[in-house]
Symmetry: C2
Subunit: 309 residues, 2 copies
């Protein structure tokens, strides 16, 4: 934890030529048959998620810089799942991965301080977390304070991948505006997030802030506009693979330096054994399928020009 989060992440992206994170979203019903459990049995399900997670982590650690662990899937098993979540964070770090805790927390400042304590500070916590910044800077500051003190990072939601979020994020306020003057809500969030990360002591040697953003790659024009609006902000790009974003679309999240984005793939990698084509190549071994799908994912990003030279 001695290095600025953005610097550490970008160094590892260069080293592996892989601006890629694998997302760990374990679902009881999709676990490989030998790990399948009754999701109503919290203890058994948490143990299965942990065994599955260890298998994924050990497999992808040599291939990608980071793993994103989705807290929701562990919280579904109450405190037993939460314990497994923290054990997997420790295991992933031991394997050399940077760990992003996908927690999307967001609450007023006095409460945010407790979420920051539980989810971003101390040895148990991941290197970075995702946040909802909809309650303003006060709600994000306790996390930014931890970033500064403990060399961690955050990714604040700016543009979610689900089109269903558009009814909020495309909101443009007033009627009767001057044509062309409308600025949708997600652009407003982008300007706030860029500001929250702009203090000089938050910027690494790479020029990037430890305050990043979650930015889905939609049409090229709007993605480029977001990229230009927040040049010092790392983008965590959701929605690749199972959710439909292509590597081509993700390339619009890069700055001219060929950096600035890390693309996440979850289901298409971790449940690759369910994909007939990958399963055949993997000979029915789910870990081998994870490796093949992860290699395919990284190769696809490289082919689209996303890997740094």
């Amino acid at each position: 934890m001695g290095e600025h989060f953005a610097d550490a992440l970008l160094a590892r992206i260069r080293e592996l030529r892989a601006p890629a994170a694998v997302g760990l979203d374990p679902l009881a019903a999709r676990l490989p048959p030998e790990l399948r459990v009754d999701p109503d049995d919290d203890v058994a399900a948490a143990a299965a998620f942990e065994a599955f997670g260890r298998g994924v982590i050990d497999t992808v650690a040599p291939l990608v810089p980071a793993i994103k662990i989705n807290s929701a899937f562990f919280e579904a098993q109450h405190e037993h799942g939460v314990a497994a979540y923290f054990r997997l964070i420790a295991h992933a770090r031991q394997r050399g991965l940077l760990v992003i805790g996908d927690v999307k927390r967001g609450d007023i400042g006095s409460t945010a301080a407790l979420y920051a304590r539980g989810h971003l500070s101390g040895r148990a916590a991941p290197d970075a977390v995702t946040l909802a910044g909809y309650l303003g800077e006060n709600a994000v500051r306790p996390f930014v304070d931890v970033c500064r003190a403990e060399q961690r990072g955050v990714f604040v939601l700016v543009r979610p991948s689900d089109p269903g979020a558009d009814e909020v994020h495309e909101f443009a306020g007033a009627a009767g505006a001057t044509p062309g003057s409308a600025r949708p809500f997600y652009r407003h969030m982008a300007s706030l997030v860029a500001r929250w990360g702009s203090d000089s002591d938050l910027i690494g040697r790479s020029g990037y802030s430890c305050v990043g953003a979650v930015v889905a790659a939609k049409d090229a024009a709007s993605t480029r506009a977001l990229r230009d609006a927040m040049p010092g902000t790392l983008f965590l790009v959701p929605g690749y693979g199972a959710q439909g974003a292509t590597a081509e679309a993700c390339r619009n999240c890069l700055n001219a330096d060929g950096l600035g984005a890390i693309v996440n793939a979850s289901r298409s990698v971790i449940f690759a054994y369910l994909d007939a084509g990958v399963a055949e190549r993997g000979g029915g071994d789910w870990r081998r399928c994870v490796r093949l799908a992860c290699e395919d994912f990284v190769a696809d990003l490289r082919r689209a020009g996303l890997a740094p030279a």
Copy 2:
């Protein structure tokens, strides 16, 4: 759990003449001296929070319809705190309180389904949770489905109490709009939340939906406008007491039927022993101070005309 959430809550509000919830936000540094612990010791802190929470619950159960338990304060102690959170939910329900889990979760639909499973469904879960609806209807629907199937409730953030949230919630989009036409973001969220709760099978006999809203009482005009914009929506009103909202201001959250709001007080009740005036009347007993402060809180709401006749 046999009754519609809004009906059950309103019945209890009438019975006790108390549109009031007590918020359980335990902080290690503010616990009564005999319970004070090192917050870095998760096991000890979780046990202290549980002992404190049981004391608060046993004291306020005869006085108010509901307790709001803030998950953040428990998550600060990792899985040990989460286990205490769920044990306190069970204890509060046993004491006849309706329980609101203050979790403010919000993520895209496939992830929201897991949060709904962990936080609103089944015997371990509270009667209602707070939600962030910023990712749109898909993000809220899995919770609404649980409300429908298991007679539970949600309160979706519409207007937070912290003025720091205004930089997001007062966003009004386009420049050059027709004067008077600007509609701030929180009004947009209000119209979405009202719509999400409008299906006839979500409305109780009382006329109120199981999809409520978190609405801070700010100036009278904007609060009344929100009340008029979402007449079938129960308001959970934060910010009373330590955060500065007066009972007078909260009255603007009521409909003409004298119903429609439940006001929450946290620190001013649970840490009342730290208030010199209350401490003197309570003879140094922290539980007695909780009772006195809770009675004062309810009396203040009644005096301001918030209690149903």
